[in-house]
C-alpha cells in the first residue's frame, strides 16, 4: 500500500515542541566547545527559554489535537498534560542545576543538552501511539539519563550509579522490546489502536497464552522504568549515587513519562485483556508500597530515603492504574503532577543542603535547619507534609483521588492497605521534620550560605504549586478528568 511519507504542516506543528528542543539541544552541543570556561551559564538560559517556548508550542498544539506521522504519535489532552509536566520538571531541574554544576566545576553545555534530549524522549513516550515509537522515546530518554547519572565523571558514586542504571535499564528495555516483538508476531501490529481492535475482535482467534506472556514481558520493562516492585532494586543505589539535581529530574520526569506510557498501553491496547493483568498490577502495587515505605523507615541518607519514598509513591500510582478506569487515570495524572512539584521541591532543598561534593546528605545534616535557615526549613516542611498527605497540600488530594478511584473499582482492601501504608510513611517524613525543628544544630556544622537564586526560585515555585494544588485541585483535576479517556 503506497504511503505518503511527506508529513503535512499540520503534523509538523503537532510535533513542533520535540523538534524545537532537539534543534536547540543540537545547537548547544555544537556551540559548547566554542565557548570559554566562564561562558557556560548562557546554555542554561538558552535551554530554559527553549523549554518555555516548547511549553507554549505544546499548548498551541493542544488546540488542534489528532494523530501525526501515520498515527505514530498522537496529540491529545493526555499527551499534552504529560508533555507540559515533563517540561516543567525540566525547567525546575535547570533552575536547581546551574549553581550545583558551577560548584562542582562541571558546568558545561552538554548537561543542558542531555536534559533537553531526555525531555524530547519523554515527550515522545507520552505521545507515542505505537510500540516502536514508544521504544524510541524510551531509549532516547533513558540513554540521556544514563549519561546524566554519571555526569561528574571523576566521582566514584556517580560512576557506580550510571553503570548500574545503564546495565539494569538496558536489561529491562530488552524485556520490553521482546514483549513488543511477541505482540507484533501474534497480532501483526504495533499500533496501539490496531492491537486493541485485534484483541477485541472475537474472530481473530488469538492465543491468550502468547498475549499474556507478551503483556508480562512488557510489564517488566514498564515496572522497571517506574520502579515498581519487584523491579525497584536499582532505584535506591542510582538515586543515591547520581548528582542531586539529576536525581531530582530522574525521580519525576522519566517516571511521569513512563507512567504515562504505561497508562496509555494498558488503557488502550491491552484494555480488552484487563482480567489478565489486573491481579499482576494489584500485587505489584501492594508490594511496591510496602517495600518502599518499610525500607524507607531505616534510612539515614536523605537521598536514599527519598529514593525509597519515590518507590512508595510509585506504588500509590500503581493503585490508580489497577483501578483501570477514567477516574483512575485522572487520579494518576493528578498525582504525578503533585508528585513532580513536591519531589523536585524536596530535592531542591537536598541539593542546597548537600553543598560541594555532596558531603551533607545525612539526615543529621538537617539538624536545627529551622534556626539556621527558617525559610528553607518551612519549604521542606511543606514538601514533606505533602508527601505524607496532609490536607491543604497537593499530596493529600493526590492520595484522596487515588484511593477514591480504588474504592470506585471495588478494591476496598487495596485502598485500606494503601492508606495504612501512608500512615507508615508519615513516620519517616516526620523524622526529617523532627531533626529540622526539634534538634539543635551542632557546633561543628559549617556555615550554610544563602541558597542561590535558581534554587530559591525552584523552591518557591514548587511550594506555591504544592499549596495551590492542595487548595484548588480542580484546576488540574478537571483537565485530567477531561483528557483521561484516550483516543482508542
Amino acid at each position: 500500500m503506497p504511503v505518503n511519507f511527506m508529513p503535512t504542516p499540520q503534523e509538523l506543528f503537532r510535533f513542533a515542541p520535540e523538534m524545537l528542543l532537539t534543534l536547540v539541544a543540537t545547537i548547544i552541543m555544537v556551540l559548547e566547545p566554542l565557548s570559554g570556561a566562564d561562558g557556560k551559564r548562557k546554555f542554561a538560559v538558552i535551554s530554559f527559554l527553549s523549554l518555555a517556548a516548547a511549553i507554549a508550542l505544546s499548548v498551541a498544539a493542544a488546540g488542534d489535537p489528532g494523530a501525526a506521522f501515520s498515527s505514530m504519535i498522537v496529540v491529545d489532552g493526555f499527551s499534552t498534560f504529560f508533555r507540559i509536566l515533563v517540561m516543567v520538571a525540566g525547567v525546575l531541574t535547570i533552575l536547581i542545576s546551574t549553581n550545583y554544576l558551577r560548584m562542582e566545576e562541571h558546568e558545561s553545555g552538554e548537561y543542558y543538552a542531555l536534559v533537553l534530549f531526555s525531555i524530547v524522549g519523554q515527550c515522545i513516550m507520552v505521545s507515542a501511539n505505537e510500540l516502536i515509537m514508544l521504544f524510541i522515546g524510551l531509549e532516547c530518554s533513558s540513554i540521556a539519563s544514563y549519561v546524566l547519572a554519571g555526569f561528574l565523571r571523576d566521582d566514584k558514586r556517580n560512576n557506580e550509579s550510571a553503570l548500574k542504571y545503564f546495565l539494569l535499564g538496558s536489561f529491562a528495555t530488552a524485556f520490553l522490546l521482546y514483549g513488543v516483538a511477541w505482540i507484533y508476531g501474534t497480532t501483526g501490529y504495533t499500533n496501539l489502536s490496531e492491537i486493541r481492535r485485534v484483541l477485541l475482535d472475537p474472530n481473530s482467534n488469538q492465543n491468550m497464552v502468547v498475549i499474556s506472556a507478551a503483556t508480562a514481558l512488557m510489564f517488566v520493562g514498564f515496572a522497571f522504568k517506574v520502579s515498581a516492585a519487584p523491579f525497584q532494586m536499582w532505584a535506591p543505589d542510582v538515586y543515591q549515587g547520581a548528582p542531586a539535581p539529576v536525581t531530582a529530574f530522574m525521580s519525576v520526569g522519566p517516571k511521569a513519562a513512563a507512567f504515562a506510557m504505561f497508562l496509555r498501553v494498558l488503557m488502550t491496547a491491552f484494555e480488552p485483556v484487563k482480567d489478565r493483568w489486573e491481579p499482576l498490577l494489584w500485587t505489584s502495587a501492594l508490594a511496591t508500597m510496602v517495600i518502599g515505605n518499610f525500607a524507607a523507615l531505616r534510612q539515614t541518607n536523605i537521598k536514599r530515603l527519598l529514593a525509597y519514598s519515590s518507590i512508595a509513591h510509585a506504588g500509590y500510582i500503581m493503585v490508580a492504574l489497577t483501578a483501570h478506569s477514567d477516574i483512575g487515570t485522572a487520579a494518576a495524572m493528578f498525582y504525578l503532577a503533585s508528585y513532580t512539584f513536591m519531589n523536585i521541591g524536596a530535592f531542591a532543598v537536598v541539593t542546597y543542603i548537600a553543598r560541594k561534593g555532596e558531603r551533607h546528605v545525612e539526615i543529621q545534616d538537617l539538624a536545627g535547619l529551622s534556626q539556621r535557615r527558617p525559610v528553607v526549613a518551612a519549604m521542606l516542611t511543606i514538601f514533606l507534609l505533602s508527601l505524607t498527605g496532609i490536607p491543604l497540600t497537593a499530596g493529600f488530594f493526590g492520595k484522596f483521588y487515588i484511593f477514591k478511584a480504588a474504592l470506585d473499582a471495588n478494591m476496598v482492601w487495596l485502598a485500606v492497605l494503601g492508606m495504612l501504608n501512608s500512615a507508615v510513611a508519615a513516620y519517616y517524613y516526620l523524622r526529617l521534620i523532627v531533626v529540622m525543628y526539634m534538634q539543635a544544630p551542632s557546633d561543628e556544622m559549617e556555615e550554610l550560605p544563602a541558597p542561590s537564586v535558581g534554587i530559591q526560585a525552584a523552591m518557591f515555585a514548587a511550594a506555591a504549586a504544592t499549596v495551590f494544588l492542595g487548595v484548588f485541585p480542580s484546576v488540574v483535576l478537571d483537565y485530567a478528568g477531561k483528557s483521561a479517556s484516550f483516543i482508542r
Binding site: F400, L407, M438
Partner: protein
C-alpha cells in the same frame, strides 16, 4: 459571610500575620496573639444568643462549593452540640497564651503561631458539616500540636510527638477510606444531606457495610478520645508537652474524638452503634477504673493528670453509648467540664513546674505554707475534678451515671467505683504536694500567684462554679440537639410505623 466564618478566618489570618512579625520582638508576638485570641473569644460569645434560641437546628450556616468534582463543599454551621465546644476552644486559647507568657522563651514566634493554627483546626472540626471538610480540619489540627509537643516539650518530647502523630494518622487513614466509601454510596460528603437521604430511605447501608463503616470512624475517634486500650499515646503526649500544649490537648483535642462519636457515629450508623454498644461500654468502664488505678501510682504529676483524663473520658464514652437523653447530655456536659477542670489542673501543675522545675510529687511538700493562694486554687480545682457537688464535674458525672443506670444498673455501679477512686488519687496527690513538711527548695522557690496567674485562674474557677450551680445556662442547648440525634438514631422503618399510627 456570617459571624462563624469570620471566627474561622481570624485564627487563620492571625497565624499568617504572626509569621510575618519580626523574630526578635517576642513581646510584640505575645501581645498580638493575645489580642487575636481575645477578639476570637469575644466574637464567639456573639454566637450564643442565636444558637440558644434555636438549638436543635443549624445556625450560622454557610454552604458554598469548594471543589466541583467530587463535590466538596465548604459547609459549616453551629448547633447546640458544637456551640459550647467552640466557645471552650476560644475561651482557653487566650488563657494558654497567658500561661506561656514567661515559660516559653525560645522560638516565641513559632510557638504562638502554632497555637493560633491549632485554634483554627479545632474550630473547623467543631463546625464542619461536610465530611471531607471535617477530615481536612481533623488533620490540620494534628500538625500544630505535633510541633508544640515536639519543640517545646520536656525530655522525651520527640518520642511523644511522633507517637501522637502516628496514632492519629493510623486512625484517620481508615476514616478517610470510610468517608470515600460513603461518598461513593451516596454521592455526597454533606452530612445533613446524607442523614436526610437515610431518613427518606434513599441511602441504606446493609448490616456489614454499616458495621465496617462504623468501626472505621469509631477507631479514628477512639484513638483520639482515647478509649482504653488505645490510650497509650496520651500519657506520653500530655506528660511531655509544654503546659499550653497539655491544656489544649486535654481540653480541646480529646473532645474532637468524643464530638466525632456524637456528631457522626451515632446519627449515621445508629444501627451499628446500638449493636456494638455493649463491648464499647465495657471498654469505657475498664478505662474509667484502669485510668484511675494507674493515676494513683504515678510519681509524676502531669502523668497523673493525664491518666485521670483516660478515666474521665471513659465517662464520656459511657454516657454517649447509653443512647439515653440524660446519658448523652451528661457526656457532652462532661466534655466541657473536663475541658475546664483538667485544663486548670494542667495549668496549676505547670505553675508549680515553673517554680520548682520538677514534676515529681516527691520533690514537693508543704506548698500550702509557702504559696497559700496557689494551693487554694489547686484544691478547688481538685474538688471540681473529683466531682464535689456544686462544682462542674458533679453535674456531668451524675447525669452519665443516671443514664447508665437506666440501661443497666451494673454499668453505673462499676463507673461509680471510678468516681471514688478519682478522689483517692487526686486528694492523695494534693496531700503529698501541699501539706506536710516544706523542703527548703520549695520554701525558697515556690512563691505565690502573680497578677498574670490570677488572670489565668480566676476565669477557670468562675466557670467551674458557674457550671456546677448554673447548669441550666448550658444544658438546654445541648439537650435539644441530643434529642435530635437520638431521634435520628431510630430506625427509619420504625419511625414510618410510628408516623402511620
Amino acid at each position: 459571610m456570617n459571624l462563624l466564618d469570620i471566627l474561622l478566618i481570624i485564627p487563620a489570618a492571625g497565624f499568617l500575620l504572626t509569621l510575618l512579625l519580626p523574630k526578635d520582638n517576642p513581646a510584640l508576638v505575645r501581645n498580638f496573639t493575645l489580642f487575636v485570641s481575645l477578639i476570637a473569644f469575644v466574637l464567639s460569645l456573639g454566637l450564643i444568643g442565636p444558637v440558644q434560641s434555636n438549638p436543635g437546628h443549624m445556625t450560622f450556616e454557610t454552604n458554598t462549593q469548594w471543589i466541583e468534582y467530587p463535590s466538596i463543599r465548604y459547609h459549616v454551621g453551629l448547633d447546640g452540640l458544637s456551640l459550647w465546644l467552640v466557645i471552650l476552644s476560644t475561651f482557653l486559647t487566650p488563657i494558654v497564651i497567658l500561661v506561656s507568657w514567661k515559660y516559653i522563651q525560645n522560638r516565641v514566634k513559632e510557638f504562638y503561631a502554632f497555637l493560633l493554627a491549632l485554634l483554627f483546626g479545632v474550630l473547623g472540626v467543631f463546625v464542619a458539616l461536610d465530611l471531607f471538610l471535617f477530615f481536612v480540619f481533623w488533620e490540620i489540627s494534628l500538625v500544630p500540636m505535633y510541633f508544640l509537643v515536639g519543640i517545646w516539650g520536656h525530655d522525651k518530647r520527640i518520642y511523644a510527638a511522633v507517637k501522637f502523630f502516628l496514632y492519629t494518622m493510623a486512625g484517620s487513614a481508615l476514616m478517610l477510606i470510610a468517608i470515600i466509601y460513603l461518598y461513593n454510596k451516596s454521592g455526597t460528603f454533606d452530612m445533613p444531606l446524607m442523614l436526610d437521604m437515610m431518613q427518606k430511605g434513599r441511602l441504606a447501608l446493609n448490616g456489614t457495610e454499616g458495621f465496617w463503616l462504623f468501626l472505621a470512624f469509631f477507631f479514628a475517634f477512639a484513638i483520639k478520645v482515647p478509649l482504653f486500650p488505645l490510650h497509650t499515646w496520651l500519657p506520653d503526649a500530655h506528660g511531655e508537652a509544654p503546659t499550653a500544649g497539655s491544656v489544649m490537648l486535654a481540653s480541646v483535642l480529646l473532645k474532637l474524638g468524643t464530638y466525632g462519636l456524637v456528631r457522626i457515629c451515632l446519627p449515621l450508623f445508629g444501627e451499628a452503634a446500638r449493636q456494638n454498644a455493649a463491648w464499647i461500654i465495657g471498654l469505657a468502664i475498664t478505662g474509667i477504673i484502669y485510668g484511675a488505678l494507674v493515676a494513683m501510682v504515678q510519681p509524676n504529676m502531669k502523668r497523673l493528670v493525664a491518666y485521670s483524663s483516660v478515666s474521665h473520658l471513659g465517662f464520656v464514652v459511657l454516657g454517649v453509648f447509653t443512647f439515653t437523653q440524660v446519658g448523652l447530655d451528661g457526656a457532652v456536659y462532661q466534655m466541657l467540664n473536663h475541658g475546664i477542670s483538667t485544663g486548670a489542673l494542667f495549668i496549676l501543675v505547670g505553675m508549680l513546674y515553673e517554680r520548682r522545675h520538677s514534676l515529681e510529687i516527691a520533690d514537693y511538700g508543704g506548698v500550702g505554707t509557702s504559696a497559700p493562694w496557689l494551693s487554694t486554687m489547686f484544691v478547688i480545682t481538685t474538688l471540681a475534678s473529683v466531682g464535689l457537688p456544686l462544682l462542674n464535674n458533679f453535674v456531668g458525672e451524675f447525669l452519665v451515671l443516671q443514664g447508665a443506670a437506666q440501661v443497666n444498673f451494673l454499668y453505673a455501679v462499676f463507673a461509680a467505683i471510678g468516681v471514688i477512686l478519682s478522689s483517692v488519687y487526686m486528694l492523695w496527690m494534693v496531700q503529698r504536694t501541699f501539706y506536710g513538711e516544706t523542703p527548703s527548695e520549695v520554701k525558697h522557690h515556690v512563691n505565690d500567684l502573680s497578677a498574670r496567674e490570677w488572670a489565668v485562674l480566676v476565669p477557670l474557677i468562675v466557670m467551674m462554679v458557674w457550671m456546677g450551680i448554673g447548669s441550666q445556662s448550658f444544658l438546654p442547648a445541648v439537650s435539644a440537639q441530643n434529642a435530635q440525634i437520638l431521634e435520628l438514631m431510630k430506625k427509619p422503618a420504625a419511625k414510618e410505623v410510628a408516623n402511620a399510627r
